[in-house]
Amino acid sequence: MRRREFLALAGAAVAAPVIPKASAQVQNWPDKPVKLILPYAPGGGTDLIGRPWAEKLGQSFHQQFIIENRGGAGGMIGTEAASKAAPDGYTFLLTPNATLSVLPNLRKTPYDPKSFLAVARVGDFVTGFSLHPAVGPKTFQEMIAYAKANPGKLSYGSAGLGTATHLRIEMLKYRAGIDILHVPYRGSADALNDHLPNTVQMMNEINTIPHVKAGKLLLLNINNPARHPDFPDVPTLSECGYPNSDVPIWYALYAPAGTPKAIVAKLNAKIVELADSDEMRERMRSINTVVPTQTPEEMVAYLEADTARNVELIKATDMKLE
């Protein structure tokens, strides 16, 4: 007996160098709960997208995926925490593009956007520019014509400086050469309250959709490469003549740099598989979200292109914080 035990141990010791430690780690991953850091307070858009994913990933891997809301400082606190987490495949960051492709170009951030590995896209909010019907214009082109004829007369509400709700309209202003006054709010719910009575005439946010359906607001276009299934008649921004501007508010999963590549690949494959399931598609559609599937490499390229566009806009419009 003793001898046999000894042999078994010896065998294991010999085998060990052949199978690297990291690989065993990958094979069994995840063998303990996985933490998803959301850099915003509970109840917002990130939560809306993050919760279904945590639930479905948990079911598929038979392991808990725990959401940790680390809100604060426009997403910087949670993102910083994720950048400092151990790269062992048990901590990830689920964030909209703002924290990585916008904020670092506007102010000093306590993290480097390069200290993250791209894992997978988890959802794009499909929305567009909404306009209050009392203003007059009915279509995107009419709005542009109106804004050109009445410079500075229109105003739009954003969820705050540096958010996608701010940048997308700034991008349009820049590309179309029109002047629309920016009124920043603390969050999009607050902005919507002023948009509905026409205190601000425009917005670019997901929460306007129910009011568009109720006929209280007009949806001029879709900021997404494809049209919105619920609004087949509303053109995309590219169709309106502004190609390369129709970037949605996009959410993705990132890992701290140094996380084993194999774990990233495994998680990416599972997310892609889930994204194509009817159930997930339906759940995402109910929150006006689509999930484009990309490999980690494709996502890196997408993030770089997004960053470059934002840098161009920020430079051209001399936007700054601090």
């Binding site: 809100g71 002023d194 009575p197």
Partner: protein
């Protein structure tokens, strides 16, 4: 049409409030409210502050129903201690001690308790209907509000907060101002500038409402209570014969009606609420009485009126919060905190976007009042025993609970540190006789005022005249100016001081 709409709304509210889960939260609120009402030194503001983080795990309806229950529940419980042991369990029950305790000494504790509970119940039912009737038209009015109107309304609210605060006007003014300054810490919405953050990233979003409220109200109160010697000799009198006599009832009807109306009106005023209502109702009753000199010797009117008034005011103070999203007192500030935790922006849109929540909460108040009368009359003996729990043990449990609660909100250890700092600060304020409520109102309203002011200026393209061109805004500003001028007049100030002395 209006009536049909009202009934439909109440029906919707009923369907929400009557669900088993929500009834349980309502009961939980009523029980907690009664308990902290009975215990001297633990108030509803502190309790709600301590419970705020916990409500995050509840559905929004349940959370708000429970928080509301704590507030009006405390009005019931407070009278028990006031009558039986001559200690106000709640600051709004201070005047109840005057005649209530005298009645108890004459062996008439039962009738005093019964009248207090019945008066509260009546007032609670009337106030619930008042909210249901007043909320829709006020909400429609509020939907017309533009940024300058909000700015001016908040200015008026802050002036009221100063006028109605107890103690020195100067101190109240200082507290409002300090609150506003604390509220300005963080990232400026319009420019993204960081203000007073000293590079500490935890301050980029400003000081959290929960740590501030919990520290200044909750922790500070615990420290203050622990420095007081314990009173072990509290409960001696036995309660027997709950039923009031026919004469008691007859004498109480008019005071209950007057108390309800007065309390209901004072509750709506910004800065008003249960405390002011009970004091005013007592004074009013004295004026109406043919034997004012007998007040303080066990007059049942002196129990009936303030107890009805404080409950009516506790409930009608929900009206400005629900329709305008503006807190009229510290408790409503807590309710707003509770809404914000659930991602609900308080304001006129709540009624439209979350009708179930809105009407469910209102209808739950009626259920809550019904539960409270059951809790408080037959079960009175149990509540009285609560006074036997040594406070030093209670305090440890509460502190433990607080730390976990605050930590779980943002998973931030720094916020736990913050409640400690604000707790000490709050204790200091208490010792120096500064009231913390105006601080909290300034903290909430100050930054909102700034945002509305700058938004107004942005939208008017820099033209300040909009503040007086809008009729609503002009109205509020004129009222605020008059009120301010009024309290600086020396004889008005004396009258106010006298009123608060009583």
């Amino acid at each position: 049409m209006e009536i049909a709409g009202l009934l439909a709304n109440l029906g919707l509210g009923f369907s929400v409030a009557v669900s088993l889960q929500n009834l349980l939260w309502c009961l939980a609120g009523a029980v907690i409210g009664t308990a902290i009402g009975v215990l001297p030194g633990v108030g509803p503001v502190a309790t709600m502050a301590l419970l705020l983080p916990v409500t995050y795990v509840l559905p929004a309806e349940g959370a708000l129903i429970m928080l509301a229950g704590i507030y009006y529940g405390a009005q019931y419980g407070g009278s028990t201690t006031a009558i039986l042991v001559n200690l106000p369990g709640e600051s709004s029950s201070v005047v109840t001690t005057l005649d209530g305790y005298q009645m108890a000494r004459q062996g008439r504790a039962g009738p005093a308790l019964a009248i207090a509970a019945l008066g509260s119940f009546f007032a609670g039912c009337v106030a619930t209907v008042a909210i249901a009737l007043a909320a829709p038209p006020l909400t429609r009015l509020a939907q017309q509000f533009t940024p300058p109107d909000y700015f001016s309304l908040m200015t008026l609210g802050l002036v009221f907060a100063i006028v109605l605060a107890r103690g020195s006007v100067l101190k109240a003014f200082g507290m409002v101002f300090l609150g506003m300054l604390l509220g300005l810490i963080g990232t400026d919405v319009n420019t993204g500038n960081l203000r007073y953050t000293f590079g500490i990233s935890d301050l980029f979003d400003g000081i959290g409402f929960v740590p501030l409220a919990m520290g200044v109200f909750g922790i500070a109160e615990i420290i203050a209570n622990l420095t007081n010697p314990e009173r072990a000799d509290l409960v001696s009198s036995k309660v027997s014969g709950l039923l009031p006599t026919r004469e008691d009832m007859q004498r109480s009807i008019a005071p209950i009606l007057r108390g309800t109306v007065l309390g209901g009106l004072l509750g709506i005023l910004p800065g008003g609420g249960a405390i002011l209502a009970s004091f005013s109702a007592y004074t009013l009753e004295k004026k109406f009485s043919r034997t004012p000199e007998k007040f303080g010797t066990g007059m049942i009117e002196g129990v009936a009126a303030p107890e009805s008034a404080n409950n009516a005011a506790a409930q009608t103070s929900f009206i400005p919060m629900l329709t305008l999203g503006i807190p009229s007192n510290a408790v409503m500030a807590m309710m707003i905190g509770g809404m914000m935790i659930h991602g609900i922006v308080p304001g006129p849109q709540v009624m439209e976007q979350r009708p179930g929540l809105f009407w469910g909460m209102i209808v739950s108040m009626w259920f809550g009042n019904l539960m409270l009368i059951v809790l408080n009359l037959p079960l009175i003996g149990i509540w009285v025993r609560l006074l036997l729990v040594p406070y030093r043990l209670l305090a440890i449990a509460i502190l433990f609970f607080c730390c976990i609660g605050v930590y779980s909100l943002n998973n931030s250890a720094n916020e736990v540190l913050m409640i400690a700092v604000f707790g000490l600060f709050g204790y200091l304020l208490m010792k120096l006789d500064f009231e913390p409520a105006p601080l909290l109102l300034g903290f909430l309203l100050g930054p909102m005022m700034e945002v509305y002011m700058r938004r107004t200026m942005l939208l008017s393209r820099g033209d300040p005249w909009v503040f007086i061109q809008r009729p609503l805004s002009l109205c509020f500003l004129v009222l605020a100016a008059l009120l301010l001028a009024f309290i600086v007049l020396p004889n008005v100030r004396k009258a106010r001081e006298a009123a608060f002395q009583e």
